[in-house]
Amino acid sequence: MKASYGKLMMWFFIVSDALTFSGFLAAYGFSRFKFIETWPIADEVFTHVPFFHGNYPMYYVAFMTFILIMSSVTMVLAVDAGHRMMKNKVILYMFLTIIGGLIFVGSQAWEWATFIRGDYGAVETKGGRILQFVNADTGERAALADFAAEIPAERAQHERKSGIWYTSESALPTYSLEEVTEGLMANPNILIRTEQITEEGEKTLLTRTETLEKIKDAQIVVEGANLVRNEYGSRLFADFFFFITGFHGFHVFSGVVINIIIFFNVILGTYERRGHYEMVEKVGLYWHFVDLVWVFVFTFFYLV
C-alpha cells in the first residue's frame, strides 16, 4: 500500500473507531425508529446561544461545526507546510488548530451544562412519558416558574448528614407536583403538550379539558436532564446525547492533547532533525477523523 507502518496503524485505528461511532449512531437510529412518533424534536431542544436570550434553533451547533471544519483546514495547512519543511508555518497552523479544538470543547461543555440545567421543566407520567406546558395565548412553551403556585411545604432534601449515613437522595426540583398542579388549575391559559408527534410533525397540544384530565397522570416534576429522565421527552434521548456527544467530545479533547504534544515537538525541532513531518500528518489524520465524525453526529442528532 506504499504507506509507512505508523500511518497504516493510524488508519487501522480510525477504521475501528469509525465502527464504534457507527455502532452508537445506529443504536440511536434504532431507538428513534422504535419511538418514531414520540421522539423529541431537536430544534426545540437546542435553542440556546451563549450571551443571547431567545429562541435560536441550531445556530450554535452550526457555529461549532464551522469551528471544527475551520480547525481541520488549519490542520491540513500544517500538514502541507510540513511537506515543504516550513517549520514556522507548521507551528502557526498547529497553534490555530489547538485553539479551534479548545473552542469546540468549550462550546460542547456549555451545551452540556445548558442541556443538564434545562429551561422549561416538565412533569412525568406513570408510564414515564413527559408532559410539557404551553401558554395558550402566545403558543410558546411555558416554564414551570411562570405558573406554578407557591405552597409552603416541609419537604426537604434528604442528605446523608441528616439521616442514616449511607442513604441520600438527588436534588429536589424547584417546584413540587402539588405546586405545578395547583398552578395549572389556577391558570386557564396553560395547556399540556404530549410527546406524540402529529401529522404536521409537531407535538400534540391538548385542549384545556384534556389538560385537566391528563395532569392527574403526573407523578413527578422533571427539570433538566440526567441519565434516568429528562424534560425533553423520551428517556433514551438524553442518554444518547450524553453518550454520543460525550464520546465525541472525549475524542476532541484527546486530539487537542495529542496536538499539543506534537506542537511542542515541532517547536523543539524534533521533526526538523528527523527530516520529515510525518508525525504531523498522522495526528492530522486523527484530527480530520474527529471532524468527520462530527459531520455525522451533527446530521443525525441535530438535523434529521
Binding site: M1, K2, I14, A62, L77, K126, E195, E281, L292, T299
Partner: protein, 114 residues
Amino acid sequence: MKFSSNTRKIWGVLLFLSIVTAIEVGLGITKPAVLTGNYLLGMKLLNWIFIVLTLVKAYYIAWDFMHLRDEKSSLRRAVVWTPIFLVSYLIFILLFEADYIYNVWKDGFVKWNF
C-alpha cells in the same frame, strides 16, 4: 508518495463545506413543506437531503483533508469499503428491527404510552 501542495484548493474545500453546512442549517430551520410532506422509502425527503449532503461532506473531508485522493488505491479501498459494508449491514438490520418493534407496540395489546 507525491502530495500536491495546493493551499488554494484547501480554502476552496473549506468554502464548499461551509456552504453545504449553511444549506443544511437553513433547511433545518425553515423546513420547507414540500420536503417534509413527501416521503421516499418511508423517510422524509428533507432527511434524505441531509444524509446525501452529509455523505458529500464526508467525501471531501476524507479525500482532500485526509489525503485519501493521494493514497494508493489499495489503501483507499481497504479504508473506505470495509466500514461502508459493515455499517450498511448494521443500519439495515437495526432499522428494520426497530420498525418491527414500533409496529408491535403500536398494534399490540400492551399499553406503554400513558
